[in-house]
């Protein structure tokens, strides 16, 4: 961690001129031939490596979609696992091109962090997990508890706010790595484990006695998670942002991984024609090929498919679409029109 941080600091000190790290990222990526994507060190459903170092998850699939838009091949991604304290420096120093690591969009991160959030791929909120044996059914009964969490996160701040607002005392035990937080909770150092609720469900699966732990109903914060890019590179920002919108639009129009070729050939809907590159020059404007959405869909499928495959109800996590449904189904996922 120190090394990465130090290199980032030296990077800040030595980078020539202002444009150094924020120059045309797209050209750099194209020249390199792979996309460098910052992900978590292992969070089931979002970014998790298996024994052969094959990464799966919603955040991972988003990176594949960006790579597919650029190269036409979703495999041209190099995943860089980062802990919570390294992630922003890694992005700012140019170690990764895009940070897709269950990162909460906040105002200060947008305005003073030298970076920009490109969208919200998952609307989350912070929750609490406790052992069933404690007999606690509400977060408001946690007065005096020891709480394990990850340091350098918004979680740590929300936690302080929540206990303060409800006049409760607590003891915070914060670690740098997710595994250490879980291990400390499992060994009884803390009564409570807190992080984004999706993360709680994912981490719960790693415990030896899943059925003895329960996630409390309260959600104490808004945690919009999404991909982050460096500030001052509008072209790259647009590409990442519109990759996300393309995934949403494809779901909205019913274009999937399986039927995209057929839709391209036979659909009479002009919206589909524009999305898939039959009409207009939308890809050109982003600096990629016109059939970029076809390539994205071939690599990952649309947003709904990505969600269902990684975190949806058919998976071990079993998370309902809820607020992450499309706006048409009463959710928050909404894309501006492609035209």
């Amino acid at each position: 961690m120190k090394l990465k941080l130090l290199s980032a600091v030296i990077g800040t000190a030595l980078t020539m001129g202002v444009a150094g790290a924020s120059a045309a990222t797209l050209d750099d990526v194209k020249a390199r031939g792979t996309l460098k994507c910052g992900v978590s060190q292992g969070l089931i459903g979002f970014s998790n490596p298996d024994e052969q170092n094959n990464w799966t998850g919603l955040d991972v699939d988003f990176c594949r979609a960006v790579a597919a838009a650029i190269f036409g091949d979703g495999k041209k991604v190099e995943f860089v696992p980062l802990d919570a304290t390294q992630r922003f420096e890694a992005l700012k120093s140019g170690e990764v091109d895009v940070l897709s690591r269950n990162t909460t969009w906040t105002m200060s991160r947008d305005t003073t962090g030298g970076m920009t959030f490109a969208g919200v791929t998952y609307y989350d909120g912070q929750g609490f997990m406790v052992k069933k044996s404690l007999g606690v059914d509400s977060a408001l009964k946690l007065n005096g508890a020891s709480v394990c969490t990850q340091t350098g996160t918004t979680t740590e701040l929300n936690l302080a706010d929540y206990f303060r607002a409800n006049n409760m005392t607590y003891q915070v035990v914060a670690f740098q790595k997710n595994e250490e937080v879980l291990a400390a909770y499992n060994e009884g150092r803390c009564d409570v484990y807190t992080t984004d609720q999706s993360g709680l469900y994912a981490e719960r699966l790693k415990l030896p006695d899943v059925e003895n732990h329960v996630v409390l109903p309260e959600i104490i914060s808004k945690e919009p998670l999404g991909p982050v890019v460096r500030q001052n590179d509008t072209q790259w920002f647009n590409l990442v942002r519109w990759t996300y919108y393309a995934l949403l639009t494809a779901e909205e129009l019913g274009v999937t991984q399986a039927n995209s070729a057929e839709q391209l050939a036979s659909s009479t809907n002009p919206e589909v024609a524009r999305l898939l590159g039959k009409e207009g020059d939308f890809g050109k404007g982003l600096g990629v090929e016109n059939d970029w959405v076809m390539k994205i869909l071939a690599a990952t499928g649309n947003y709904g498919e990505i969600f269902d495959r990684n975190v949806g109800e058919a998976t071990k996590l079993g998370i309902k679409r809820g607020v992450n449904s499309l706006w048409k189904s009463g959710g928050l996922q909404y894309a501006p029109p492609i035209r």
Binding site: T12, G114, T151, L157, A160, R164, Q171, Q176, E180
Partner: protein, 392 residues
């Protein structure tokens, strides 16, 4: 450097030694200054480009996070500067206690390694060779994990007489709360220490003059320990204890020693003690055996021989490397971040993550550890000059 007159005509301007040395030095100075100016200017520009204000103004902003162990009043509403101070105090706490323990343990083991008893000697050797050769971070994890695993939950704490509780939340003990009358005891202690200082000086002078030995050690002991106790009892035992009580999830009240601190403190002292014991052994062995024989020949008993002849000479060998062990221990304490003990690096890391002020915070880190190290080493240098062989 001077040159022979007349040689100037034969050597060209660029080969002239003075020109060369001045030229090279000038070039180096310009290069270094240019580098520093370039780096500073560039850093400030790049930070501005990212909307980061260079400087330390961010330290006055609200921290917003809580810290597990704070020796001064601290809450989420405190400033980043306060959070830094909390972290620094936590580092100092573990470093100072670690240095004291490591020194005592190190001297003990060092002497054990010189013992004539096989069991004592080889157990000390085993300890040194094992502890010295396992990475410190690993030892820290071992302590932290075993401490946590072995201990019960708060509700089933190991308890002693409803005063001391040991659980995986730490060691809870009664917290002494002193009443104003306790100030008399403090005054007595101060008087005792000052008196001891003058009595030992007077005793030494008198011994040098007359050769009579005054029992200065016993007198000091009486002044520093017995006098305050007497005053304390006379003033009516002005102390109450706040006992830890299990309430809900955790203990409330009392004095708590968190497991993160215990693990870090144990790992640091045990690790450093192994190195110190080798330094002590080397120091004692460095004093020639002839010194002991000479002392015995002069009629000194074993105790005074050790105290007046061997140890002062051994200390001259021991102190300089001991100083670097103290520096090592202080710097190694920054590994605390791995087991969640909120030391200076830990709190700095959290602040860095929230403010994005990487450059400033890394500079603060470096500045503080540099100052700590320089302070320790100047103290040890002073101590060393006191213990130096005085030549007459």
């Amino acid at each position: 450097m001077t040159t022979v007159p007349g040689s100037q005509s034969r050597t060209s301007f660029w080969r002239h030694p003075t020109v060369r040395s001045v030229g090279v030095q000038l070039f180096m100075v310009i290069a270094v200054v240019w580098f520093v100016v370039f780096v500073t200017d560039n850093t400030i520009n790049n930070m501005k480009a990212r909307n980061l204000a260079p400087g330390f103004s961010f330290l006055n902003d609200t921290a917003g996070f809580d810290i597990l162990q704070a020796l001064i009043p601290y809450s989420r509403g405190s400033t980043y500067a306060t959070a830094f101070v909390v972290g620094l105090l936590n580092t100092l706490l573990v470093a100072v206690l670690g240095i004291i323990t490591a020194t005592i343990l190190g001297f003990l083991v060092g002497v054990m390694r010189l013992s004539r008893n096989w069991v004592i000697r080889s157990s000390a050797t085993l300890y040194v060779e094992f502890v010295r050769n396992v990475p410190l971070l690993l030892q820290m994890f071992i302590w932290y994990k075993t401490v946590l695993k072995a201990l019960p939950a708060p509700r089933d704490s190991l308890r002693y007489d409803d005063m001391f509780f040991l659980s995986n939340r730490g060691l809870m003990s009664p917290k002494p709360l002193f009443e104003p009358a306790a100030l008399w005891t403090l005054a007595a202690l101060t008087v005792g220490i000052i008196a001891t200082f003058f009595i030992t000086r007077w005793a030494r002078k008198r011994q040098e003059r007359t050769g009579e030995i005054f029992p200065a050690f016993l007198t000091s002991l009486g002044l520093i320990i017995a006098l305050p106790i007497v005053v304390f009892s006379a003033s009516g035992l002005p102390v109450r204890f706040e006992y830890p009580v299990l309430q809900g999830f955790n203990f409330v009240g009392g004095l708590a020693i968190i497991p993160e601190f215990m693990a870090l403190y144990l790992a640091l002292s045990i690790y450093t003690a192994a190195f110190i014991s080798e330094i002590v052994r080397a120091g004692v062995l460095a004093v020639s055996h002839g010194q002991t024989e000479a002392a015995h020949a002069l009629g000194l008993r074993h105790g005074p021989t050790l105290r007046l002849i061997i140890i002062p000479q051994a200390m001259r060998v021991i102190i300089p490397p001991l100083a670097s062990q103290y520096l090592n221990l202080t710097k190694n304490s920054s590994l605390a971040v791995a087991i969640g003990y909120p030391d200076f690096v830990y709190t700095g890391g959290t602040i860095l993550n929230q403010t994005g002020q990487a450059v400033t915070i890394v500079l603060i880190w470096m500045g503080v550890y540099l100052s700590l190290s320089l302070l320790t080493s100047s103290f040890m240098n002073w101590f060393n000059s006191r213990m130096k062989l005085v030549e007459r």
